[in-house]
């Protein structure tokens, strides 16, 4: 921590908030308290400026124009790809595939890798705490190939039961697709251990990194994971852009996912040959400016330092957990030993939707519902929870506002 501070200076959250124009907004006349970062994070001026600058000064279609602007746009997009490669410490630029978001990344792997590799009886291993986007694509390919889905359970704290997971990894396991951090519970999953176990039986591993990349430095080479996906909009970047990392050898062996322009080498009506990586998987005109914005977001995070961000958020999570635990009738859902900055809870006798509605009137944005993770809700026998998820710009005062808001809720719903 001290070395970090020496390198970057103290973590000045007030100054950092100034980088995010939307945080100055008021909701129902109250200051915005944005605690829904797990759903989508707000954008710093650096990202907004990069998007505007791209459209104003270096916009054209990429990868094929001979003219000046096309080259500028291509350079900007490919420079973003390099930033993503550095961010994940991938070996090669062309291991970074730009997609619309994690959902598309998982669908791509399930459809392309899955169709080429899965046979009847082959097993896909998931966990109870997967987001629907890491369940449904696998069910779709299961139904097409005759593969089987197995599910590793979680315990009452929301931690993965590693002995069960180890037992479920067997000779028929072909793919282990797990989240790095649970979006509904905040649980940090020991993915390095899972990857080792999966590789020991020859299975491939896909990591859903949506909730992890804003908090945890990721090194795909050190992890040795086969695929890693994340969405730009949760990383303070634009919506509509995301990343699929895949090991080059795997991606090269996979058939294309979508056909179209950009992804071909030659086309005749008899036969088409495909472009090399990464273009084989980027059919059509890509989200050029989205990629540029994502690159700017990664640069911005780098300027703050991800470990410092993580330390700040960890402190907020601990403070919020302590303050909420002290309230009557609050039940915190998800108490795994290692958590990212996500706090899911219920309040006895009040529906989460009602809680969210009252907090909203106080200017506090939280997520309520099943968080697109219905199996998690079923595991805890809950219809829904309230989820406060913290980002790099949140403060202790905002936690205090949340606690005061919950007191309001209790006041309104006292029977």
């Amino acid at each position: 921590m001290n070395a970090l501070m020496a390198e970057h200076g103290a973590y000045d959250v007030a100054r950092i908030r100034g980088d995010f124009p939307i945080l100055g907004e008021r909701v129902y006349g109250k200051p915005l308290t944005y605690l829904d970062n797990g759903a989508s994070a707000q954008k710093p001026r650096a990202v907004i400026d990069a998007i505007r600058n791209a459209y104003e000064t270096e916009y054209a279609n990429v990868h094929r124009g001979v003219h000046y602007l096309s080259q500028r746009a291509t350079d900007a997009m490919e420079s973003a790809r390099q930033k993503v490669r550095d961010f994940l410490n991938a070996r090669e630029d062309h291991e970074i595939i730009f997609v619309r978001g994690a959902t598309e990344g998982i669908n791509l792997v399930a459809a392309s890798w899955g169709r080429a590799n899965l046979k009847p009886g082959d097993e896909i291993l998931l966990t109870t705490m997967e987001h629907h986007s890491n369940i449904v694509p696998w069910q779709m390919i299961r139904d097409q190939t005759g593969a089987v889905i197995k599910v590793a359970p979680i315990d009452d704290d929301g931690a993965l039961v590693m002995e069960e997971l180890a037992r479920l990894i067997g000779p028929r396991t072909r793919m282990v697709a797990v989240t790095h951090v649970s979006n509904a519970l905040g649980t940090v999953v020991p993915i390095a251990d899972i990857i080792r176990r999966a590789h020991a039986v020859g299975a491939k591993v896909l990591i859903d990194g949506c909730q992890a990349v804003p908090h945890i430095p990721v090194d795909v080479q050190a992890l040795d994971c086969d695929f890693y996906v994340f969405s730009g909009h949760k990383l303070y970047g634009p919506s509509g852009i995301g990343v699929l990392y895949g090991k080059a050898a795997l991606l090269e062996a996979m058939p294309p996912y979508q056909g179209g322009g950009e992804m071909i080498e030659t086309v005749t009506f008899q036969k088409t040959t495909y472009a090399g990586l990464p273009f084989k998987f980027e059919a059509g005109t890509p989200h050029i400016v989205g990629a540029v914005g994502l690159g700017a977001a990664i640069e911005y995070l780098g300027s703050l330092g991800l470990p410092r961000i993580a330390a700040h958020e960890h402190e907020l999570l601990a403070y919020a957990t302590e303050r909420l635990a002290a309230l009557n009738a609050i039940r915190i859902v998800g108490r795994a030993p290692e958590k990212a900055a996500i706090l899911s809870f219920t309040l006895d006798g009040v529906h989460p939707h009602d809680i969210g509605t009252i907090l909203d009137r106080e200017g506090i944005a939280v997520r309520t519902g099943h968080h697109c993770a219905q199996p998690v809700m079923d595991r805890f026998d809950l219809p829904a929870t309230v989820r406060a998820s913290f980002g790099l710009y949140n403060t202790r005062e905002e936690v205090d506002r949340l606690v005061a808001g919950l007191a309001r809720v209790q006041e309104i719903f006292r029977s």
């Binding site: 529906h351 939707h353 009602d354 009252i358 909203d360 009137r361 719903f413």
Partner: protein
């Protein structure tokens, strides 16, 4: 007094009841009280087959004919939504289909609970309003068809 006049009276009463409160918290507390006072739907009707698809809270809905009128019953597991349901039932339940179809839901905006609450697709209210109207339209069409059906005349 005609039926449509009594619908307008009910709407006026609702708007007046909420006008007493000068802050949002009072209005919400009152809405929660209204929700609590609405009897729960019988267990047999709190089933998935009676669910109105809504993302966040559950809403159950049932309609039946009583002579020329339609009686609606509904329930929710979230109290604020249930309060809003109770208001809808006061206005629309036990009315004639043509009066139901002729009455817009603007009054919800008038009581100032936050436009996005009453306009939100997330709470199932939207879907329930659509069903109230659809049921009334179907009943009206059915009756019109029955009126010219020779079998019905015989």
């Amino acid at each position: 007094m005609t039926d449509s006049a009594s619908i307008q009276d009910e709407i006026r009463r609702i708007v007046d009841e909420f006008a007493i409160f000068d802050d949002w918290m009072g209005r919400y507390e009152y809405l929660v009280d209204i929700g609590r006072a609405l009897p729960a739907l019988a267990e047999a009707r709190r089933q998935d087959s009676h669910r109105v698809p809504g993302c966040q809270s559950k809403v159950w809905f049932h309609a039946r004919r009583e002579g020329e009128r339609i009686v609606y019953e509904a329930d929710s597991d979230a109290l604020i939504v249930k309060g809003l349901i109770a208001l809808l039932l006061r206005v629309y339940s036990g009315r004639r289909p043509e009066d139901i179809l002729a009455t817009p839901t603007d009054f919800l905006a008038e009581i100032d609970l936050g436009s996005h609450l009453t306009g939100s697709r997330a709470n199932g209210l939207h879907a329930m309003i659509r069903r109230i109207k659809a049921y009334a339209a179907a009943f009206a069409a059915d009756r019109a068809a029955a009126a010219v059906d020779p079998a019905a005349l015989a």
